[in-house]
Amino acid sequence: MSSSEAAGPSPSSALAGRSEFVSSLLAVVLALAVGAVLILAWGASPVTAYAALLDGAFGSWNSLGETLLRAIPLTFTGLAIAIAFRGGTFNLGAEGQLFLGATAAAWVGLAIPTLPAPLLIPAMIVTAAFVGALWSLLAGVLKLRFGANELITTIMLNYIAILFVSYLLRGPLQEAAGYLPQTERLSANARFPALIAGTRLHLGFLLALAAVVLAHIALWHTSWGFKLRVVGLNARAALNAGYNVRLLTLSAFVVSGVLAGLAGYMEVVGVQRRMIENLSPGFGYTGIIVALLGQTSPFGVLAAAILFAGLQVGGSTMQTASGVPSTLTTIIQGLVVLFVIGRGAVDLFLARRGAK
């Protein structure tokens, strides 16, 4: 981004050998340290709180299952944002795409509940992907046709989508009983089988892994991914090289929307078994920092998704065990990202020390 015209190496190049993985790990440790201070400020013991967090996240088959379960939507939204990012666009709209995709999938599941699972499940998947893609495409068209900055439009589209879903769940799609803003339960045909007996982890996890592998192949081993990365790095050079930059940008929006829609689908069929108003505690937004921590690489996204899922799942255990509010984990997540971006500070510091 900053193109320094000065000759000679940049200050950080001497340290380029240091792996990004180590600096990400360092960022996590630092964020946890700041979290410990906040726990102390709350009046609890960081050791107890973190022990509870760790136990809640990875301590048993059941908690591990819960963590991986939580990692499914985060992996999908993280991939959604990472791919958009690679293509040079900021898709902050994963949250809205997730809600609309989930609602549409639930609607299909409820409209034809008796369809056999091998037909119903693909029908729901396609619907969720399609609707998520459409909503994302809208932001893409607004950007390309009118120059409307997708940073702002996607956030606005999130609010609009979530309000629209709220209307549907309190109106046309509301359960017959009419108490809660939610749909009827999905039929057994629409659900996923459990992956590990005794946990809630379902088939969706394997699909998330498959999505990671596919995204990796698409980005690094296809000419589409190559061109998308070129567009993200330098759209003008991409145009000059003869690429259809608008189409590539739109494709990034579409792929991103498909993945976000699938995140919503996974929550509906794998966790809630119906569409509810509070389906997502901000998966679309957490996906942004998952993508950033994962260096916008698919395998990095998977690791970051599991880490943040563990933080979130363990956070509830921590709240029960030590009273520390689970929102602490939101702070830790944000700090992790700020520290990862801030690793430049460490480089600057070391370069200055080294210069003396």
Partner: protein, 316 residues
Amino acid sequence: MDPIAFVTDPVMQGFLQATTRLAIPIMLAALGGMFAERAGVLNIALEGMMLAGAFTGFATAYASGSLWLGVALGMSAGAVIGLVLAFYTVKLTSNQVVVGIAINLMMIGATSYAFRAIFGPGTDAPRVTPFPPVNIPILADIPILGPLFFQQGVLVYAAFVLIPLSWIVMSRMSAGMAITAVGEHPEAAETLGISVARVRTLCLVASGLIAGLGGAFLSLSATGLFLDNMTAGRGYIALAILLLGRRNPWGIAAAAALFGGADAFQLRGQGFGSGIPYQFLVMLPYILTIVVLIGFAGKGRDPAALGRPFQRNRAE
């Protein structure tokens, strides 16, 4: 029926008062954003600055009993975020958007955590008595203008003062010229003896102070309470206001008034059982934002160095 009776109608009066009340926070955030963007820094963190201002202002006022102390500390909280943003974008030349988003996401958690830490997880929402409306004698009775401008809380008047003040700073003072230089051509600014880093840092601090005031307005003037994520995207809407107002204080004020009007309209609509589901009414400002972006994006001219980190070239 008297054709002009509607202007003195209490419903209309309330609508006009509400328009201003709802316009002020986004106007302040946009004014804050203006200083950052004119200096070449995209301030996506307006949302987080507002949230910090709203929470800090509320907590301080609640603990001390002084609304003014709340305002001061709320603004300072915004300024601290401005400093953090400056550290990343000016010192480390990080991607301005990425840092802003990370800050926003973190502030949602941080204010929520701190709120629970201070007030406990109870269901009883703590309250402070907000700034009461102060009617300006005579002027308050003018139809339309009275409720719009002269029947407001004292922070509204403060916000009004900031508009011409910002305009004077940007168009008449050497500070404004320096900010323009840094936003347009940072390399040239350096040769003119202007420190790009210092100007951008100060602009981000100013940005935080003003956006923090906008946040404090939400909790201390508009409502008297703090709710999780109570800014609800106003910081992002402010970015659209900024475009619509062409990064000019008067333009920003006018654009904010339009949004305040839309917001007041939808609130009224909810109250009067129009038959329209409330969700569609609540959508109105968000839809309006998109409409504005469609209509005005790319029409104005961005500062040439907007979003571009600046690095001094020096031999080591």
